[in-house]
Symmetry: C2
Subunit: 132 residues, 2 copies
């Protein structure tokens, strides 16, 4: 259970860093996923983030209400919502990005790339072992 404990502590610390920068962890991952594929649909975004569609709907509602992004129907397939950032969304993304980079540096301190690579391999093996 040290995996769970560590992930929780890291996530909490990361969320704190995001709050200081004017966002939250879920807002950051949502912005990041939208940026990494503009006009993606919600199914793809949720998959990228690793949450369910219903959860994403929840966050998009809040972020749309805050004016961070827009949703519009794809005229080619009216079941689909295309999500795009507003200017405010872009601005927040940039602020959070800087905070995320700083956090990442702090998190990796003292850990050489080889150790992190081996660490990532074990993480992948664990995912494979539970069928993820």
């Amino acid at each position: 259970m040290n995996l769970a404990r560590t992930a929780k502590l890291v996530a909490q610390a990361f969320d704190s860093a995001m709050v200081e920068a004017g966002g939250t962890l879920p807002v950051w991952v949502t912005l990041l996923s939208v940026k990494s594929k503009e006009l993606a649909n919600q199914r793809e975004l949720a998959g990228m983030i690793g949450i369910q569609g219903a959860t994403l709907t929840h966050h998009l509602n809040a972020m749309e209400a805050q004016g961070l992004l827009t949703r519009r129907r794809d005229p080619q397939n009216r079941r689909v919502h295309q999500v795009a950032l507003t200017e405010a969304g872009e601005a927040l993304f940039e602020k959070l990005r800087l905070a995320a980079v700083a956090f990442d540096k702090r998190l990796r301190a003292g850990l050489p790339d080889e150790r992190l690579a081996e660490f990532a391999e074990v993480l992948a093996a664990l995912r494979a072992n539970v069928g993820g």
Copy 2:
């Protein structure tokens, strides 16, 4: 974010295993913490599990209602609740313990002890780096 993703997948898989065995992940960790120090108070239990006292209260309420454990005031210090398992709690603990052992074996498959030890060291370093 592979750490978060992996921890989430592993936790979900573990919870599934616990549900099959008649419990849940939080029920398991609560039973385990009570067993590992019978008559512990809730503050200690929460610390062992890595959750807040309020969250533990929540689970203990449910588990007490299910007849898995009892809470009584410590006569020496009436602020404290001493938590102990009932027979039903002991029985469920044993069932979940077997499922947890099986899950652990599945999770570690193909990963030699040295790699797991190195993995645990990196986890510890990450906790230290975020000040946990």
